[in-house]
């Protein structure tokens, strides 16, 4: 029994309700008892005879009913009208999990929440009105909270005046579940049916051929496509074997394999070449699969096939075309690549892979800039910007040369030919580039230019004039000193132009000697005067030597010219020192000869270098170039003999006919060629690279690739332009063909031998390419380990190499992508020592530092460098030694001159003094006086001479301090001196005017004094001398021009230019000018002025001479200088 309190709680009753219910319950119970009593009375009244038997029978019947109800399999519950449970059978207790007592104290809604009071009343009403049982489904809640579906059969019953509702509830949970499953199964089945119908339709209407056979291969089913394709009807096909389609092309083994595959339960895929009913052949691709039942047993085979004849034919055509393209592109010895408008690579041929070191997979899709095109070139050009421009204006870049970079960091020079590929609307979609590696050629040209520059640097710095002539004696090169000395240009001097600077009296004899030298091929020395810049002539010792090649023919003449004017002067001035000076001069000759010999050797070395480069070029190329060298004015200075092979014209023809080169240019290319040549004349620094055509003597059109660059001397002087013209006719023809089909190629030279290596930083894995093995001189087959490599390094370089490697490692860790260059020696296993240059790139890959590099042999370069260094050192030593010797000798000579002049001066004074005394004191007749006056004059002259020599020596050694001096005042002093000395004996016309300031020293007086003395000495009869000073301008500079006129016999034209040369005048001069004029010249030179002699009356050399001195105006404050 549920306690009442719990019941209350459940019914949520208030205490008053509780009381009412209790009352109601008592009343009920009373009613019930009354009913029972009434029944009992009725029974007693109706069956007074068998009351006991009746009661027994009734009790029996009640017991049976009770038993039957209790053992009924459905729950039976009696309810009163207010929902109270008044009876439950055993089954109800079982299914709800409550005891009977518990249930009898509960209401119906305690076990079925749907039984609300309202519902109960409706039910009640329905059952009472309809008079039969109601059937419906409801849900019961068991004690443990389990909810289960029940089928309720409810009946209304009236017993006495009491009404009841009897319900029989059957648990139908299981039935419900079964029902749901059944519905689902039905749905699935319907879906499956739909699908099957679809599949069947799909197969029937498929665009592919479907054939189903049984396990023996007998056709069970074919779809309409089969009939359409093969021509066999369904009826014809069923029961046949698919081999009715066989052509016999497929080998039996293949069929065997097919059968084995499908019988083992796997799919077979393949292509058949089959025959239709009408005999036509067709291609089909097929998938044959086994069809299995649920147990995995193969029941059928199904083939799904597709007609691929069209595709097959297209593929075949494509394959053939691609094969052709591939052959062209892959076998090309040129880089062929394409990139789209974004710069991303879309094609990269095998040659490009090899050259740049990128595999196709790595390269395709990547931007060329940053990969094979560096952002900027080593020359500083901005390649990124150029590429951008190229994408926009591909037509401007039909051909170009630029630097590219390999994966290992090597930089290469590539000559590119570019072609835009357009879509049908004419929009550029891709650019096709064909490139050739010209690094070798470029390096060669650089090396050649460098070696030429080095030669010029040496030649231009030797202290003699030097020149080179070809075998015929035509001079084509002079060193810088030649130009400096003569003030002439290469154009003026080359060929036979040098005759212009030879003294007119010597031209004939020099030319004769020269021609006989060329004829006899013998070395020759010759001395003759040459005109120097200021117009005066100086004596030169010329030594000419032939330069022979290996077979003894003369390739060049090499000559030096040594200024021996000073030597000759010194000989004259100091006759007793002549012997010594001769020895000295001889030494100088020996030195010069040694120098010439060294230059010859150097020249030979250069020639050998050039030859080896030439050989290299022949090897590296299948052709060699027509090289020209033109002067800045555009004239041919050099034309290589190979021009004959290319143009059919000999080099001589180009020399003799300067217009020939332009005339052989193809008429279509004349304009472009002319523009290119003009641009050279306008701008020296232009480098050119373009193609043009010429017509050879045989009438053939030949394509020429013209590459030119300017050549400068170290001091920046433009020497002209070097051009290399390569016959690229073959290439052009091939290129044209390629451009027509967009798939043609061009040949190129390959770069020098380069070895490659790779290792990880732990040196566990080392790889050497076969070239690297060779370059390191490793014995073939020796293990490629780091230690092996280290063992090749020359012991003297080992420490440096290891130190550098450690530095590189450090740098590489800080800066990924670090590259390093290292030069060191290795010892080959045969003992030979080689210089190698190694370029390494460090990269971090997966946390590991990898080193990759390229190595090449630079022994030859090192040798050339060392040789040059040795030459330079030897020259320096010789010059140093020579300078010391000359200094020492100069000191001695100065000392001798000083001692001698002092002593002679004293002697002169004594002689002169006594003669003066004698003339003064002795009473002599005219003849006696005359006898004394003569030696007196001689002594005076001797004194002047000594004085001048002493001043000359001091002037030359720079002993006099330079200061501002007034020409007017100095000339005034000179005038005073001579007027005082000669009195009325001379007329010296000079109007003194001061303010002519020049930079000079106290010897300025001696300069003019000497000129006046010279004028007096050479005057006939009464000397009349005019002195004039004026300011003039010459070559943009202001000078004071001092003219001293005399009325003597004048100076013959041939002597005018050499009169100041003490040495050259000698006996040939009618008036021994002595050392005086030499002193004048020396002083004027020292004052940076000019002196010359001219006729007093123009054109008549017999009416007296005019000595003109020009001294630069010294700019002093506030216009002291005369204007």
């Amino acid at each position: 029994m549920v306690p009442r309190s719990e019941f209350r709680k459940k019914s949520d009753s208030t205490p008053s309700e509780d009381a009412r219910e209790k009352d109601w319950l008592i009343a009920e119970l009373k009613d019930h008892i009354a009913v029972l009593e009434n029944e009992l009375r009725l029974k007693r009244e109706c069956a007074p005879f068998s009351e006991a038997a009746e009661r027994k029978r009734a009790e029996e019947a009640l017991k049976l009913t009770q038993f039957a109800l209790d053992n009924f399999r459905d729950s039976a519950i009696w309810l009163t009208m207010d929902g109270r449970i008044i009876y439950v059978n055993q089954a109800a207790c079982m299914s709800l999990g409550y005891s009977r007592e518990e249930l009898l104290s509960m209401h119906m809604w305690d076990i079925d929440p749907d039984y609300t009071m309202k519902r109960l009343r409706e039910l009640w009403k329905d059952a009472k009105q309809q008079g039969y049982t109601l059937k419906f489904e409801s849900k019961h809640v068991a004690r443990d909270g389990r909810v289960f579906t029940v089928e309720v059969t409810s009946s209304y019953t009236r017993y006495g005046d009491k009404e009841y509702l009897i319900t029989f509830d059957r648990d139908i949970t299981e039935r419900k579940k079964a029902e749901a499953e059944l519905i689902k199964k039905n749905d699935d089945l319907a879906a499956l049916n739909g699908k099957l119908r679809q599949l069947s339709q799909a197969v029937q209407q498929s665009a592919s051929v479907v054939v189903i056979t049984d396990t023996t291969g007998s056709i069970q089913y074919v779809n309409p496509k089969f009939t359409e394709l093969t021509g066999y009807s369904v009826e014809e096909a069923i029961g046949k074997n698919p081999r009715i389609l066989k052509t016999g092309e497929m080998p039996p083994e293949e069929y065997k394999r097919l059968w084995e595959t499908i019988t083992s339960g796997k799919d077979w895929r393949g292509v058949f070449h089959n025959k239709k009913k009408n005999g036509d052949l067709y291609w089909e691709s097929a998938i044959i699969s086994p069809v299995m039942d649920d147990s995995g047993k193969i029941t059928n085979f199904m083939a799904v096939k597709e007609d691929i004849t069209e595709r097959k034919l297209a593929e075949e055509a494509l394959r053939a075309s691609e094969e052709k393209y591939r052959e062209l592109v892959e076998n090309a010895n040129s880089i062929i690549l394409r990139f789209d408008v974004h710069g991303n690579l879309t094609f990269f041929n095998e040659y490009a892979e090899k050259l740049f070191g990128y595999s196709r997979n790595e390269a395709l899709g990547r931007d060329v800039v940053g990969m094979i095109v560096p952002v900027s070139e080593s020359t500083g050009r901005d390649l990124k910007a150029i590429m951008e421009d190229m994408k926009r204006h591909p037509e401007r870049y039909r051909s170009n040369v630029n630097e590219n970079v390999c994966k290992n960091g090597d930089r290469l020079w590539i000559a590119w030919t570019n072609k835009a590929i357009c879509d049908e609307h004419g929009n550029v979609v891709e650019i096709l580039s064909v490139g050739n590696d010209i690094t070798g050629r470029k390096r060669m040209e650089d090396a050649l230019r460098e070696s030429e520059e080095r030669f010029h640097a040496v030649a231009d710095n030797i202290p003699v004039l030097a020149w080179m002539a070809d075998a015929d004696g035509r001079i084509f090169w002079f060193n810088k000193q030649c130009y400096d000395y003569t003030g002439m240009t290469l154009e003026e001097l080359q060929g036979w132009g040098w005759e212009k600077v030879i003294h007119p009296d010597y031209v004939k004899s020099v030319t004769e000697v020269w021609q006989s030298m060329i004829k006899t091929r013998q070395p020759c020395d010759n001395i003759f005067p040459l005109r120097v810049k200021d117009g005066s002539y100086r004596w030169f010792l010329t030594r000419s030597r032939p330069i022979l090649n290996e077979d003894g023919t003369i390739t060049r003449w090499f000559g030096t010219q040594t200024d021996i004017t000073d030597r000759k002067n010194a000989e004259e001035a100091l006759q007793d020192k002549q012997e010594k000076l001769k020895v000295q001069a001889e030494e100088l000759h020996v030195y010069n000869e040694e120098l010439a010999r060294q230059i010859e050797e150097r020249w030979r070395a250069e020639e050998a270098l050039r030859e080896s480069e030439e050989k290299f070029r022949i090897l590296a190329d299948f052709t060699y170039d027509w090289v020209t060298w033109s002067s800045p004015a555009g004239n041919n200075v050099y034309v290589s003999p190979s021009c004959e092979r290319i143009t059919g014209h000999r080099a001589e023809e180009f020399y003799n006919d300067p217009g020939l080169r332009d005339r052989i240019v193809h008429s279509d290319d004349m304009k472009a060629f002319g523009q290119h040549m003009d641009s050279h004349l306008r701008n020296a620094s232009i480098c050119g690279n373009f193609d043009f055509r010429i017509i050879s003597t045989s009438g053939e059109t030949r394509w020429i690739n013209h590459v030119c660059q300017p050549v400068f001397r170290d001091n920046g002087e433009w020497l002209g332009r070097r051009a290399s013209n390569r016959d690229i006719t073959e290439r052009k023809l091939a290129e044209e063909a390629l451009l027509v089909s967009e798939e043609r190629l061009r040949r190129a030279s390959s770069a020098g031998r380069i070895g490659l290596f790779e290792r990880n930083e732990d040196r566990e894995r080392v790889y050497f390419s076969p070239e690297a093995y060779e370059l390191y001189g490793l014995e073939p087959g020796s293990p490629g380990t780091y230690e092996t490599w280290l063992s090749t390094v020359h012991p003297d370089d080992l420490e440096t190499v290891e130190r550098r490697l450690a530095e590189n490692r450090e740098n590489a860790c800080r800066k990924p992508g670090y590259t390093a260059q290292l030069e060191f020696r290795v010892v080959h296993y045969d003992g030979a020592v080689h210089w190698l240059e190694v370029q390494s790139t460090y990269a971090l890959e997966g946390g590991e530092l990898m080193v990759r590099g390229a190595v090449r042999d630079i022994t030859e370069r090192k040798r050339a460098e060392k040789e040059l260094e040795d030459y330079r050192k030897r020259l320096e030593d010789l010059v140093q030694e020579r300078t010391c010797k000359l200094d020492e000798e100069k000191r001695q000579v100065e000392m001798y001159v000083d001692l001698m002049s002092h002593d002679i001066s004293n002697m002169n004074q004594v002689g002169l003094g006594f003669l003066e005394l004698a003339l003064d004191m002795l009473d002599l007749d005219e003849a006696g006086r005359e006898m004394l006056l003569n030696p007196k004059s001689a002594f005076e002259k001797s004194s002047r001479l000594i004085d001048n020599v002493r001043k000359l020596q001091k002037a030359r050694s720079g002993e006099y301090e330079s200061k501002e001096m007034d020409i007017g005042q100095v000339l005034g002093k000179v005038q005073e001196h001579y007027t005082k000395q000669y009195g009325q004996g001379i007329t010296l016309n000079y109007l003194m005017n001061v303010g002519y300031v020049v930079k000079a020293n106290e010897l300025l007086y001696d300069l003019f004094s000497n000129l006046v003395a010279n004028a007096i000495k050479h005057s006939r009869g009464h000397p009349i001398i005019d002195i004039k000073v004026e300011q003039v301008s010459e070559n943009g500079r202001d000078y004071y021009k001092i003219a001293i006129d005399d009325r003597g016999p004048g100076v013959p034209d041939r002597l005018k230019s050499i009169i100041f040369d003490r040495k050259l005048t000698g006996d040939a001069c009618s008036k021994g000018s002595g050392i005086g004029l030499f002193l004048v010249k020396t002083l004027v030179d020292g004052y940076r002025g000019i002196v010359w002699v001219e006729d007093r009356i123009k054109g008549d050399c017999t009416k007296g001479a005019r000595f003109v001195v020009m001294l630069p105006v010294c700019e002093v404050e506030s216009g002291n200088a005369k204007r």
């Binding site: 002169n908 004074q909 004594v910 002169l912 003066e916 005394l917 003064d920 004194s943 004085d947």
Partner: protein, 121 residues
């Protein structure tokens, strides 16, 4: 002190002879002739009366003319000195040290005599 008394200092004996002959011919008296600086100092000390003028070569063995002059000026400040040299660069030093006159060699006898006559007046 006679205004026409002269001392001669000259290492070249022939030059000294020339001076002696010329000056004697002019009626001047020769106080002493010395061949180097030291000898000149000694001769100057011994001379009595002291010469009015000393003509002195600069470049001489043992002691130079200017050095000798400095010593001699200490002994007697009234004597006038004419320094003779081929080296014009010592002119400044000679005048600053007390020489009355500097003559650059080669000198003409006439010139020398006119100088001496000017000093003696």
């Amino acid at each position: 002190m006679r205004k026409d008394s002269i001392g001669i200092v000259e290492d070249e004996s022939q030059v000294a002879n020339l001076y002696k002959t010329a000056f004697t011919a002019r009626g001047m008296s020769i106080s002493f002739v010395a061949e180097d600086g030291l000898e000149a100092i000694k001769a100057f000390k011994d001379s009595d009366p002291k010469p009015y003028i000393v003509i002195m070569d600069h470049r001489m063995p043992v002691m130079t003319g200017v050095d000798a002059m400095k010593e001699m000026l200490k002994l007697n400040g009234r004597t006038k000195y004419i320094i003779v040299s081929a080296d014009s660069s010592i002119q400044k030093e000679a005048i600053e040290s007390g020489a009355t006159m500097f003559l650059e060699k080669p000198i003409q006898l006439k010139q020398l005599i006119s100088c001496i006559e000017n000093l003696s007046q």
